[in-house]
Subunit: 123 residues, 2 copies
Amino acid sequence: MARSERVNLAEKLARFSDRWSPKVVETLDGYGIKLVKVQGEFVWHSHSEEDELFLVLDGGFRMDFRDRQVDLAAGEMIVVPRGVEHKPFAAEECSVLLFERRGVVNTGDAEAGALTRPERQLV
Amino acid sequence: MARSERVNLAEKLARFSDRWSPKVVETLDGYGIKLVKVQGEFVWHSHSEEDELFLVLDGGFRMDFRDRQVDLAAGEMIVVPRGVEHKPFAAEECSVLLFERRGVVNTGDAEAGALTRPERQLV
């Protein structure tokens, strides 16, 4: 049986510095709780099968949709439903907690590019 | 298609004061992101089919297991795997974000009692 352990988010965030590369810190059913650092502009993409939660832990970022933009600060979150095109943008570095199904690739259904990363376990 | 909206956790927390009664603020696939305020001692219980995430937003609480206790402060989280008996305790009021399958009853497989609450949508 899995043993549940305390996870300190700040301590986990201190253990990596690369951006746009989600790190799995816990799992729940078939889902991953992941941490990611973002800065700059991501690519337009969507995920055909998965909804995706973004919860800002530190800093802030803007989620662009095709028809609008949503600014998010620490303590704010947004769920992007499956199939909805989105593109995160962060002027300054921002730390985000993601909740999404295990195995999701960050660039979704977009063609793999320079920012494409498989999820990784934080070691 | 669902429209994604910004959710400010502090603003949502300000809208209720009852304890041990999880409020759904967002959904993702078949899962709920819920907010709950806790204080005092809950009951021993487990959930046979669902893992459960607890992320402390404000304050702190202690998760008791049959063989140990885990103290959790703001910015810390724990996943309680399905089938594992647990009992939260908070000396002072504490605000927690839950992530778990929709429809989970807070007292799980324990006999319904004074603290049993179905999840509710935060209106």
